[in-house]
Subunit: 332 residues, 2 copies
């Protein structure tokens, strides 16, 4: 059983995952994985993953195959069995590593990308996120779910087949608390949602806009940590991703498709991460929080200054990045 | 002139450094730098750097050469000229990128490492940090100095020659505020310095200790973000690094030398970062803060989960890492 440990100074929790314990020789830099080898996420190899917890049938195959498939991570950072058992060790706090760690296999097509996939395929992935968030929310031990994607080795991916992941946590992570606190303070002062105000200012200003439609907006944030960091938000004030109406998912998928076509054209299919920021469970944040998707192409290296300060040096002004992306014809 | 921009949600500041503005084609992954090429930091090439702001003479050369040399960064993230000019852009805050960005050339020897350098050479580097912190503290526009080292390409270094850097900032960074707030809350509750209490618990427990002497202690922290993350603290309660007596620097250099001998033996000269956490200027934190040095070997990749949550998955329990490091004979 792995452990969650809390840093006594800044309150940041860490997962100590003893089941993945590594000796120094395991940590040395590994060579790039050979391409074209065996893929446990490809159709036909379903018995190589843990049993699936959710899937969407592939309509094109007459319902015989799958379009999206969700399985527990074979080497989970947290495990769904057990109780939290909070305890202290002298001045330190520990709790058991209870939670969930799932892999969302986004498509049967090993070589697909968000710019090559049909919008309908991206819609299925988003409906899957909504389904898993809704299902895991029933577990009262869980307080937050982080949905994210690592694409490319430099972005931390260990498998090449298109997939995203979710980690359900028994505590609200520090970065999420920070966002909640910031949004609540803004609301207390202005009686407005800070994200709604950002959407209004970005729409009126226009210099940082990348693409938008009736329901969603994609823009380069005013203070981005990384070059070409791109945020996508629903125009409607919605705190929890899973409460977004299913019929809006294709509009979101359309914006995502365009954003990735532009990013991939501009940067040559960069490694990237995306992170879904959504409301925690069991906490009333509906008035002041607003879900958002952050996309980070991994172009610059994070080094000592960023680790030590939480400050980021970004060599590309967001207005320039947005202009560049707007000028790219995305084929829509 | 670059800009500092504040994220309106969580209050994190970002440097938008327009003078280093990059187009997408500049951001693609560069090939590894050729070894053995021209090095602007080597002796004889002093005219290839901006004029030095500090140096320590090399006693072995009879005072003709230098042992340590400090120069402004040729491509600074912040510039020392100008006023802050805080202003707003709608709901956003901006200020000019005023500050300092210096390179500490640690040794004339291009191939030196912290495990090969004599302890006296490391002592000179530490005395240089003390000198620069003391000098820059006089500038009332500056509120915090981040001293850090990026070693190896995977750790963000762009030059091979042994060097560290400092960035002096006109605001206190968020991660530092977080540490200060955590330490102050602990002090308000317990009337003790949280770092002094950590030193006491780690000394009594012993499982996470790496090495110590009369004045300094090195250990794996209880909740480390990364495998083999190692912290070094002075046993005496000292908030500001620059107030550490000069005569203690060789004791600190001795502990650093041993730690790097052990890390390099265990992990095969891994890329690493270190970050000095010290008291901000113009703020009375002496009662509750305590400077510390964080060393992070760069063995694991930070990916979407860590970016989205501020949670870290660490595959190596610190007790195992410390045991492994203690068992290595460091040649002292």
């Amino acid at each position: 059983m792995s452990e969650l440990r809390k840093d006594p100074v800044i309150g940041r929790w860490v997962i100590i995952s003893t089941e993945r314990a590594k000796r120094p020789s395991d940590l040395k830099v590994e060579p790039a994985r050979p391409r074209g080898g065996f893929c446990p996420l490809c159709p036909g190899n379903e018995d190589k993953t843990p049993p699936e917890v959710f899937s969407i049938a592939d309509e094109r195959s007459g319902g015989r195959g799958w379009a999206v498939r969700v399985v527990p991570n074979k080497f989970p950072a947290l495990s769904i069995e057990g109780s939290l058992q909070k305890r202290a060790e002298g001045m330190y706090d520990i709790m058991n590593g209870v939670g969930a760690h799932e892999v969302i296999i986004e498509t049967p097509d090993h070589a697909a990308t968000f710019s090559s996939m049909p919008v309908a395929a991206i819609t299925n992935i988003l409906l899957t996120f909504k389904n898993r968030l809704t299902a895991l929310k029933q577990d009262s031990r869980l307080h937050y779910i982080s949905v994210f994607k690592n694409c490319g080795e430099a972005a931390g991916a260990t498998l090449e087949h298109p997939h995203s992941q979710l980690i359900a946590l028994p505590v609200i992570p520090r970065r999420v608390l920070e966002k909640l606190d910031g949004a609540q303070a803004y609301f207390n002062y202005k009686r407005n949602c800070v994200f709604c105000d950002i959407i209004n200012q970005e729409t009126a200003d226009g210099r940082r806009l990348v693409v938008s439609n009736d329901h969603f907006i994609a823009f380069e944030p005013f203070a981005p940590r990384f070059p070409f960091e791109t945020h996508i938000l629903p125009r409607a004030h919605l705190a929890a991703f899973e409460e977004t109406p299913a019929e809006l998912m294709s509009a979101l998928a359309g914006v995502m498709s365009t954003v990735f076509k532009k990013l991939n054209a501009a940067l040559g299919f960069p490694p990237f991460n995306f992170m879904l920021h959504t409301a925690p469970f069991n906490k009333d944040v509906g008035e002041f929080y607003h879900w958002h998707l952050e996309i980070i192409p991994r172009l610059t290296k994070v080094a000592g200054f960023e680790w030590g300060s939480g400050f980021y040096i970004n060599p590309t002004p967001p207005e320039q990045a947005a202009q560049y992306l707007r000028d790219i014809e995305s084929g829509r």
